[in-house]
Symmetry: C2
Subunit: 216 residues, 2 copies
């Protein structure tokens, strides 16, 4: 019946007031649709790498990715959704990269700090892209919760990986959540020029001490 069947639960008109399931099993995308989605995300990242959040203009993204504006909005119901999806995309890369060279530290705290600093260095190479993604993430409202949650889970996974913990205790999970909070907020202060790179490093190292506090 349909053609280029319903793009997915995620990729569908409902822009704001919707309340759909997270993304348990994303209805399959046509090849051309997958390609479109990829082009869009690529254009988004590219524009973001230039001027950051403001430079990602929906009309430009649409043009760059050779897609009509309406289509762009069908795939990503708002600029925030688009940027959060871009972040998901980048995070996957990052996780893959990090996996390859596990951190060397003796203690879990050291390894987590080392991993986060590695990620931070990667972000420093594309500060504008980082700006766009992080601003979108923290500005996101309820309508983007599922996607933001996914980013959060991915981040948690990275941290747990670094800890080398298979079965973290609830206490450790709390510590990880606090580390994530610190990570996001520290990034923001750095991006808005209110904290130096050194400062971010200190904050990360400081919060990572919580791990020793909950694990020994």
């Amino acid at each position: 019946m349909p053609a280029e069947a319903k793009v997915s639960a995620k990729v569908n008109k409902p822009a704001k007031v919707e309340a759909r399931a997270a993304a348990p099993a994303s209805p399959p995308l046509t090849e051309r649709q997958e390609a479109r989605r990829r082009r869009i995300l690529h254009a988004s990242a590219q524009l973001a790498s230039r001027g950051g959040f403001d430079a990602v203009q929906m009309r430009e993204v649409a043009e760059s990715s050779q897609v009509a504006l309406g289509t762009l909005y069908r795939y990503f119901p708002s600029k925030i959704h688009l940027l959060v999806a871009t972040m998901q995309d980048q995070l996957e890369h990052m996780h893959g990269t990090l996996r390859k060279k596990p951190p060397q530290g003796e203690t879990a705290a050291e390894r987590v700090a080392e991993t986060l600093m590695r990620a931070f260095r990667a972000l420093q190479r594309e500060p504008h892209l980082a700006d766009a993604m992080v601003r979108a993430l923290t500005f996101a409202d309820r309508s983007v919760s599922p996607e933001v949650d996914q980013v959060s889970r991915q981040t948690t996974a990275i941290i747990l990986d670094a800890m080398g913990q298979e079965n973290p205790t609830p206490e450790q999970l709390s510590a990880v959540r606090v580390i994530e909070h610190t990570w996001h907020s520290a990034l923001i202060t750095w991006l808005s020029g209110r904290a130096s790179i050194a400062q971010v490093k200190i904050d990360i190292e400081t919060v990572c001490r919580l791990i020793d506090l909950t694990a020994p």
Copy 2:
């Protein structure tokens, strides 16, 4: 020479690219100007208390406060500036209120957690207002750094007050910074419905343990 003399270093055209001093000594405001500023902030808080960030529309703020749109922009060069100023305003109240009943906890960590939870409860009474202020705070870019920094200093002061520390060590200041990070980020996750009130409480209590770690 002038009339309603230059409103202040802060309240003046330069909207974005400016780089003026923080607010060492704000050139005095006329009574009528002070009144206008107050009306604006009041309207802002009122609108925010209704629908949150989105409900604070510059045209409405202008109308509610009986001021021309251009004037509103002269006082607050952007919606973000306005909301951050609103937050400064609210924070002052809060600090005053908190001062009156110092926290009871035995340890510094307990007192800080208690204070933050008290603040959190206050925010829960006006969740929309909280939404508007916190979103503005984390979305603010470099052009708002001085104002955001001011908010940060105020928050730091509240926390140090609760700790009862006159001369905090650098380590303790790091811990306080991390606590602030956690505070902001936890608020965001709560506001966007991704964390429960209980969860925020746990996160706050968890991060406050850092104080014991740096002070004993």
